[in-house]
Symmetry: C2
Subunit: 153 residues, 2 copies
DNA sequence: ACAAATTGCGTGTATATACACCATCTTTTA
DNA sequence: TAAAAGATGGTGTATATACACGCAATTTGT
């Protein structure tokens, strides 16, 4: 095991697993958003555009399920993308539903964002090292599934 | 060719390191907040109260540095705690500063929250396993420091 | 066919997050 | 000592997050 040292952070604040994850989440979000800044997209927005690009078209609930985010959160997250004309929403056949799709502008924005995103991804890989990054990804996936654990609800 | 829908979605959505972290962060936050619900505190709020309890008193910037959160975010996060009478803010000697301190009610709330927090911590440890949890904590600490990496800015 | 259950969605409300900008107060410097 | 520089904090604005609630449309059960 490497030294890893105490760094700047006080020992007492590293005990809560949840806050540990949230601090890391804030840090990496700032890093990605900063890298993506020239594209005018946040990492959340780019993620949405890319998922939409894969699905071609989707209802709100379908997209929410795909990106694993709360449906009402997604609803709000789409607002800036609608305003910028990156996505288009229309009524579905089942008129309870909405069909969401990328516009041409949205596709272009996604491509611009993607190129910057690749830089961020590469930097992270370089910084973390491949082994640690793989391990981290694995562990995060497990954390995601905590809700299904047999100790809860 | 069949569709293999279950293959396309997860693979594609698990590629962004940032979104991976954010999904995990959302999941564990919901888990902690749910566990803490009877105390009336969110995990963020409990964290603030506990750090304040350690510091006895602090200025806003000091507390922000300790919990490693943006100063202006902290400012807003304190609002519910002030409203509930859990913390008390007054002008410092240097009248640019504010001195924050726990109230008696705040101490009680922190104690109530703590007990539930311990349950959440224990559950996570059980669920993740000790080795993986230690490894995760280590990796998250490294992620936190990405901003200092020599490939940025 | 009609009532009941279910599904899909939006909004009200509240917290969490942080950047840009500004006001104020203190310390340093010319 | 007056001006400049620095420190401290608040607010405007915007995004991200999700729970509770309710409305409208569809599907199901009798």
């Amino acid at each position: 095991m490497e030294k890893q040292a105490s760094e700047v952070a006080p020992k007492q604040s590293n005990r809560c697993n949840c806050m540990n994850l949230r601090r890391a989440s804030r840090a990496i979000t700032q890093f990605y958003d900063d890298t993506l800044k020239p594209s005018g997209l946040t990492v959340t927005q780019l993620s949405l555009l890319r998922h939409l690009g894969m699905l071609k078209t989707a209802t709100i609930s379908e997209l929410a399920k795909m990106v694993q985010i709360d449906r009402t959160t997604l609803n709000r997250n789409m607002k800036p993308l609608i305003r910028e004309g990156f996505i288009d929403i229309r009524r579905g056949r089942d008129s309870r539903t909405r069909q969401i799709a990328l516009t041409a502008q949205g596709k272009n924005a996604a491509i611009r964002g993607w190129k910057l995103w690749e830089v961020a991804q590469k930097t992270i890989k370089e910084y973390m090292g491949n082994n640690d990054l793989v391990k981290l990804t694995q562990l995060l996936l497990k954390v995601e599934n905590i809700a299904h654990y047999n100790g809860k609800n």
